[in-house]
């Protein structure tokens, strides 16, 4: 469902061109569980933003569900992002003035959905993530693990096919990190495609497919362990 072919991206940093992505060819099927690892500046986050339609390739093509995305207008890309992709960030990115419920509701509000529909969907995902009792709390009144679970709830409330997580446990202690990863893996088991960008080796190893990046290029792509995918 995600097909990247010969994707290149170059940034200008103080006059020096920085080749963030070099000839990336990557196909990701529905329901896969990938980790992307590599040193800082290797292009992990750029790849994530590219897949999440936050960035446009300089050259190459990116097809999402069979649709060529490079040529789409900004409005179309925003709608596609809204309907297909959920983001999870290291620093949660919750809006502090809004309650947990309102934060989770945000993508549905932007999509113009009706209040009743929103209420039901939000309560459902809050239940799934075990934070229904926090729905009227603001971010300042919650722990890190709870905050990230609110963020995950927000990422899945539109029922996206792809979940993109950028260092989801980076700001959490070990126990909370474990809970968050469990929650993400549960969602993957339900069929969502999960892509985790991380520095953390232990976290990266849990994925069934592991991608290594160096200097903007893919240097390794292993499918293993849990067995099933390696054979394919």
């Amino acid at each position: 469902m995600i097909e990247l072919a010969a994707v290149n991206k170059t940034y200008r940093m103080g006059g020096q061109p920085l080749h963030a992505l070099r000839d990336i060819n990557l196909n990701i099927g529905a329901g896969e569980y990938l980790s992307v690892m590599g040193p800082s500046g290797s292009g992990k986050s750029t790849l994530l933003n590219m897949i999440g339609l936050l960035d446009r390739p300089d050259s190459g093509s990116y097809r999402l569900n069979g649709t060529a995305t490079e040529a789409l207008a900004e409005e179309k890309r925003a709608a596609m992002r809204r309907d297909n992709i959920g983001f999870i960030f290291q620093s949660f990115q919750l809006v502090n003035r809004l309650t947990a419920f309102e934060n989770v509701e945000l993508p549905m509000v932007l999509a113009g959905q009706k209040r009743g529909v929103r209420r039901q969907a939000v309560n459902e995902v809050l239940d799934i993530l075990g934070i229904a009792d926090r729905r009227h709390h603001r971010p300042g009144q919650m722990s890190g693990g709870q905050l990230q679970r609110v963020a995950i709830a927000r990422a899945i409330v539109m029922k996206p096919r792809v979940l993109l997580a950028d260092e989801p446990t980076g700001n959490l202690d070990q126990a909370s990190g474990e809970e968050v990863i469990k929650a993400l893996e549960d969602l993957n088991r339900e069929g969502i495609t999960l892509l985790v960008v991380t520095h953390d080796l232990a976290l990266g190893r849990r994925a069934r497919r592991r991608i290594r990046m160096v200097d903007g290029a893919i240097s390794g792509d292993d499918r293993n362990e849990s067995g099933r995918s390696t054979a394919l």
């Binding site: 809204r82 990115q93 809006v95 502090n96 932007l110 999509a111 113009g112």
Partner: protein, 403 residues
Amino acid sequence: MNPGDQLRFNWQVFRGQWTRTLMLVVAVAIGVAAVILLTSLGEGARRYISAEFASLGNRLLIVFPGRNETTGGAPPVYGVAPRDLTLEDARALARVPAVRDMAPIIAGTTVVSRQRLSREVLTIGTTPGFFSVRRIDVGRGRILPEASHQEALAVCILGAHLKKELFGSERAVGEWVRVGERRVRVVGVLRDEGESLGMDMNDMVIIPVRTAEQLFDSPKLFRVLLELQEGADTETVTERLRAVVRERHEGEDDVTIVSQDSLLAAFDNILTTVTLAISAIAAISLLVAGILIMNISLISVSQRRREIGLLKAVGASRRQVRQLFLGEAFLLVALGSVLGIAVAVAGVVLMRELWPAFPLMPPWWAAPAAVITAVLSGLVFSWLPASRAARLDPVLALRGNIP
């Protein structure tokens, strides 16, 4: 995004930053209130003058000596005429059939004294017609006698205030005063009327026109007031009057004739322009409010970079982000306008209480014009910050980096 949801979203932003919100709302309110109050003053002045003219009745013609050559200009107050307009001319004008009443006027300043008290006041030399044409009357005694047309009678009528200054509470009618060098007998005292068309009726002395000719040593009339009969056509009468003047002035109609209507129209024009001008000045405060909104919104956009990046990541398009920020400005202006109108209405009511004589009134267009200007200013000046927010690169914004 539904309008209701956007409103709620904007409101939540305001609640989180209520000092900023209050400041901007007050800035807009001051601008809106200033426009409405200042236009009310202008409109009040216009109404005041209209009412003054209306009190004269609407069939008044004023004849000035001297020809006003430039059309459309103001009538010459002290005309420079080759031939004077004299009492004889005035009486000839009065014989035109449609003229019901006539009042010649010689005006000047003299010292009026009684015993050791003296006052320098406006002195009007005229005939009994003045009282009916100007709709004034005496409170005590009687008006000028008919013989004022022919004889330099030694009589006068005092304004109410002048009488008080010279006589206090004593009886004035029948007493003698000096007007310039002449001893005259007080035959009447004007009713206390206040000002009329800028002439302070309380502080003047009225004497027969012949007496004034001698006093000022000149037959020159300052002007002639003519009151026309009901239903007379101003145009035709004016032509007839010009013909009379031509006959008497060797073929030249060297006078300026102004009808009360045209005078009123001229004043109306001037005051409408003045009202517009002061409202434009007041609108500058709305411009300032707009610039304030722009600056504060720019700060707000850079403070909320992460939030904007997040909104984009969860599916907000550029248009939606811009709409959110423009909506914020619009809501601020709406709140400010409501507050401003409330303040203006309160101000108008208060001022009417304090000065009941002055018909303070906002013209119908003041509030809509103020609100539209405020909204335009708010939207124009928040366009830049809103566009900046819309263009923000979500990737960089989420990292919190400032490019």
